[in-house]
């Protein structure tokens, strides 16, 4: 294995070689990393730092760029859902952190993705009364098609694979999902104009690149977020700019 090791955000990192064997094909990629780290610790070394939490594809923290692709060669999965049977005995596996100016490296494979949080915060709140006299969600009718689309958009787990794989480090797929999940619903329409303007403004401030419509983000997205949302984001943004 060739793994990117970097002590902290300031120091320069480098690729370090490791060998590992007796890995079961039923192991997940992260379990393999655990085995490797145990070995490193037993040898008195510093284990490879990597992000993980749920280990079931819902938290989006397990960011690893494996053999040139975020979350490795499989489709529709996160690194924690990737199995070792996707690799062959004797393979060389490159593991790098997600790279983008907006995602500075904290240590080894751990990157700081708070840029995504700041974009979502810039989107602001939704004026729904939640203080005691909450309305039942079903009192506001929602077109089935829009409800489905909003739900699909909301499956984005904010993992950052779209940014990592984009040749331009563009965050458009993520932002488009976060804008669309609200813009498609009547409850989200109230603040829709400010929301899209502020989120895109924050996205630009964070230093992500521009979209070239290569479509790599959609292919690598563990949730298969559609490029449709980027088209929607473009129109939402254009409409909002013309209004304000």
């Amino acid at each position: 294995m060739k793994i990117w090791r970097q002590k902290n955000s300031k120091e320069k990192g480098k690729i370090v070689n490791y060998e590992i064997d007796e890995i079961s094909e039923d192991m997940s990629f992260l379990e393999m990393m655990d085995v490797l780290n145990e070995k490193i610790v037993l040898d008195g070394g510093d284990p490879v730092a990597f992000d993980h939490d749920c280990r079931e594809g819902i938290c989006g923290s397990c960011s690893m760029f494996i053999n040139g692709e975020p979350h490795g060669p499989d489709r529709g999965v996160t690194t924690c859902q990737l199995h070792m049977r996707k690799f062959k005995d004797g393979d060389t596996i490159y593991i790098e952190p997600f790279r983008s100016r907006a995602f500075p490296i904290i240590k080894d494979l751990v990157v700081d993705r708070t840029a995504f949080d700041r974009i979502q915060q810039a989107g602001g709140y939704i004026s729904i009364n939640t203080s005691g006299n909450t309305l039942d969600a079903n009192t506001i009718p929602v077109e089935k098609e829009n409800a489905d689309k909003a739900f699909d958009a909301a499956t984005c787990i904010g993992c950052g694979a779209c940014v990592a794989t984009c040749k331009n480090s563009s965050a458009m797929l993520f932002v488009s999902a976060k804008v669309s999940q609200f813009a498609l619903l009547p409850q989200g329409k109230v603040e829709a104009t400010d929301r899209v303007l502020n989120m895109v403004k924050q996205m630009d401030l964070e230093g992500f690149g521009n979209c070239t419509n290569t479509g790599a983000c959609h292919v690598e997205c563990p949730k298969g977020i559609s490029l449709d949302y980027i088209a929607k984001l473009n129109t939402e943004y254009a409409k909002a700019s013309l209004k304000k």
């Binding site: 331009n168 996205m203 979209c211 790599a216 129109t235």
Partner: protein
């Protein structure tokens, strides 16, 4: 309002798409005129004379076109510079070919080849035209265009360079046309149709230009 729009990443992409589509419209018009040179000297001469002398074309459309080309490639370089800056440390292994098409990843390269072609093309046709009309004030000759065109395509290296550039134009257009509709917000629901149109147009028009160049080279 508009200023804010075009200061944002999405606004710049919309401007890029609009200028790209504008260039595509121009390219189609240019092709339709050129193709007449293959079957009718007189029609080609008439059209060229009209385009070359009509004040609306010369003093309104031509400056707009030049501005459009300048805007498109300057913005292309600006976006590319920003995109490179967005990833200061590059990956040791990057498998771009597993998730996207080469043509979409190298727009700046195909664009740069087209730009160098435009340099040669201006030198070949546009500068002599401007000299003829506005510097030397030569007499108006409505029948000179066709044989001037044929003469220019007698040099085989030029024909080869033109054709190579048209290949790069095709590479630029097959992604560019579909991409511009996405930038302008067309839904992916139509994307397979848009892709088909984009591929057909992107291959047909440059191929047509190649055909015209080779035809005049061989037919002489």
């Amino acid at each position: 309002m508009l200023k804010k729009l075009f200061n944002s990443s999405i606004g710049r992409k919309i401007a890029m798409a609009l200028s790209g589509i504008f260039l595509i419209v121009f390219l189609t018009q240019h092709f339709l005129i050129n193709i007449t040179s293959v079957f009718s000297d007189s029609l080609f001469n008439w059209l060229s004379h009209f385009m070359g002398t009509n004040p609306l074309v010369q003093f309104v459309l031509q400056p707009i076109l030049i501005a459009g080309v300048l805007f498109h490639f300057v913005m292309g370089f600006v976006l590319d510079y920003q995109n490179r800056k967005a990833r200061p440390v590059s990956y040791a292994v990057f498998s771009g070919s597993k998730n996207s098409l080469m043509v979409s990843r190298y727009m700046i390269l195909s664009g740069a080849v087209i730009l160098s072609f435009l340099g040669l093309h201006f030198y070949d046709f546009w500068i002599p035209e401007m000299e003829y009309k506005y510097i030397e004030f030569k007499p108006d000759d409505p029948n000179r265009y066709h044989h001037e065109l044929v003469e220019k395509f007698q040099d085989p290296t030029k024909v080869v360079f033109y054709c190579i550039s048209f290949v790069f134009l095709a590479l630029h257009l097959v992604h560019g046309l579909a991409s511009s509709t996405q930038s302008l917000g067309t839904s992916n629901r139509y994307s397979s149709l848009i892709k088909k149109i984009s591929y057909s147009f992107g291959i047909f028009i440059p191929l047509g230009f190649c055909f015209i160049a080779i035809y005049h080279f061989l037919s002489h």
